[in-house]
Amino acid sequence: MADELLRIENLSVEYHVGVKVSNAVNKLDITINQGEALGLVGETGAGKTTTALSIMNLLPKRISFITSGNVYYRGKSMMEMSEEQQNAIRGEKISMVFANPLSSLNPLFTVGHQIALAYETHYKVSKAASRKRAAELLKLVGIADYRIDDYPHQLSGGMRQRVGIAAALACNPELLICDEPTTALDVTIQAQILELMKNLQKEFNSSLLMITHNLGIVAEMCQNVAIMYGGATVEHGSVREIFTHPMHHYTKGLLNAIPKLEGQTAALESIPGLVANALDLPGGCRFHPRCAYCTEECKNELPHLMTISDEHYVRCWNVEGIK
């Protein structure tokens, strides 16, 4: 059994939008071990980003509320820590790569400054030392170090994202959270970034939480995967097991909805209906209004987590029926 690094337990997050309440995350449980790469997959509005932000405690104040649950980092509760203790972890032990590199970098500072910032803050070193570290990191992610004094707008999209990764890696974090790191990029650039992250993960034995809607990326990067729908996981386990023997109808639908690069082209299966609206989540199984195999039980009660094997857990009432 590998060392447990991060455990999210029974997490629920609400957003208050005017008088309405949006249940973005509902009783989510996730565990990430040392050296593990976990993929968190779901469509828009499934609560993926909210989960990531609540790990980092970066949720927007005043409108978002964690109503239940806890996040444990190495057995210690993140929620009960003081602001200083949290700051010591954020950026050093756990760091994050954001989806849009153009909006997550500050346009008024050079990239070298922004990469050095985390290192300087956490290790209390001199300007010269942190600058040296920034140059190292730039080289590590494949950018020539003479660009250290460039501003974000002078770099291309792929380079900006690599700067974002370099900044996140500044303190050799134990857990790297990547929120859709390659959606804004072309496939060839995406391949570069994924290759880079794979190598870095091997080199530093760090853990990875890969948030994406691209199942292909998960298949290439991660050992384990959790499929999210309506703010909770519907199925999780090892990538190979889940992608070859999906049990939940949502997972099956997702896998059948993407066109393949091999084999015959048949009509794509689309999932009828719309992604569950967090403002008005259906009772029972969140997926039941879109599920072709829905029964009375599905409408009334949330399914328990069923264990198919050590590597496969699913939340569905009709697992027997699927077999």
Binding site: V187, T188, I189, A191, Q192, A257, T265, L268, V275
Partner: protein, 331 residues
């Protein structure tokens, strides 16, 4: 009608299409350089490439959103880019477009009804009293519920909005539609719905598509033939299965290997291209444009620009060393 289709007369013929943008103080941006292809009736031609390779510019020039620098486009034998006035307006009905972003391509101040009725008003195709029925028929063909006609675009989700965009393109019974990344801003489950709709409509209405996309798996799914573009030029074109099974151009090989897939069966060799797409400003005419990033570039590539050669089976490739590319990729 179908008898005519069998003679394989292309519905659209693009010849040496070139579009340069003049950038003040910087020179000529070669967005599209000498691009030629044909589209048969009832066929889907996929146009793939990375951002900045000129694929959208091709679509926009075909729609005459901006003038071409050189070259010509023949629609059913008629020189479409030279037409003006009444004739141009008449042909416009046949050539329509579906846009990438369903959020910015629909007027936020108009209801869905007025968006969908506009083509009929502009082209004066029916009496005012008939417009209502026409709009309803249109919404029926794409599978939109009628109550939606009173809503505004912001009240719909991405998939529904894209359906409105498709309905608008279909209003005038077009023969040819340019689809510029119609599914790239949608979620996977919705993407499948839209792709299935486009395939169904093509069968029912005998449409031809130019399907522009950067997503190879989507292009493979929907296209009959595929054109791969790099920096404004066509590097490879072939029938779909031929292109995917017998990829010859080093860029196409790299592009295909870069797509992450969910299959565990085949062990893949991935070719990771170094660097970014270079700038299309003032390219060197005597150098293969892909050479600086190419994994098998040799001296000749930097001194002589390759031509698009037919290598048999309607497979064209622009590379000096295409004979070696397949073996090299496997090593």
């Amino acid at each position: 009608m179908s008898a005519q289709n069998n003679t394989r007369e292309p519905i659209l013929k693009v010849e040496h299409l070139t579009k340069h943008f003049i950038i003040k103080g910087k020179g000529n941006l070669h967005a599209v350089d000498d691009v030629s292809f044909e589209i048969m009736p009832n066929e889907t031609l996929g146009l793939v490439g990375e951002s900045g390779c000129g694929k959208s510019t091709v679509g926009n020039v075909l729609m005459r959103f901006f003038p071409e620098t050189a070259g010509s486009v023949f629609y059913k034998g008629k020189d479409w880019l030279k037409m003006s006035g009444f004739k141009k307006k008449e042909l416009r009905r046949d050539i329509q477009m579906i846009f990438q972003d369903p959020y910015s391509s629909l007027n936020p101040r108009k209801t869905i009804w007025s968006i969908l009725s506009e083509p009929f008003v502009i082209h004066r195709l029916c009496k005012k009293s008939e417009i209502d029925t026409k709009v309803r028929e249109l919404m029926d063909t794409v599978g939109l519920e009628t109550y939606i006609q009173e809503l505004f675009p912001h009240e719909l989700d991405g998939g529904k909005r894209q359906m409105v965009g498709i309905a608008r393109a279909l209003a005038l019974n077009p023969k040819f539609i340019v689809c510029d990344e119609p599914v790239s801003s949608l979620d996977v489950s919705v993407q499948a719905t839209i792709i299935n709709l486009l395939v169904k409509l093509q069968k029912e209405m005998e449409l031809s598509y130019l399907f522009i996309s950067h997503d190879l798996s989507v292009v493979r799914h929907i296209s009959d033939r595929i054109v791969v573009m790099y920096l404004g030029q066509i590097v490879e074109t072939a029938e779909k299965n031929e292109l995917f099974l017998n990829t010859l151009h080093p860029y196409s090989i790299a592009l295909l290997s870069a797509v992450p897939t969910t299959s565990f069966e085949a062990e893949k060799t991935r070719i990771v291209l170094e660097g970014d797409v270079p700038s299309p400003l003032n390219p060197n005419p005597d150098c293969c444009r892909f050479a600086p990033r190419c994994w098998m570039a040799q001296e000749k590539c930097f001194n002589e620009s390759p031509m698009l050669d037919d290598v048999g089976a309607e497979h064209c490739v622009a590379c000096h060393y295409w004979r070696q590319s397949k073996q090299r990729a496997k090593v």
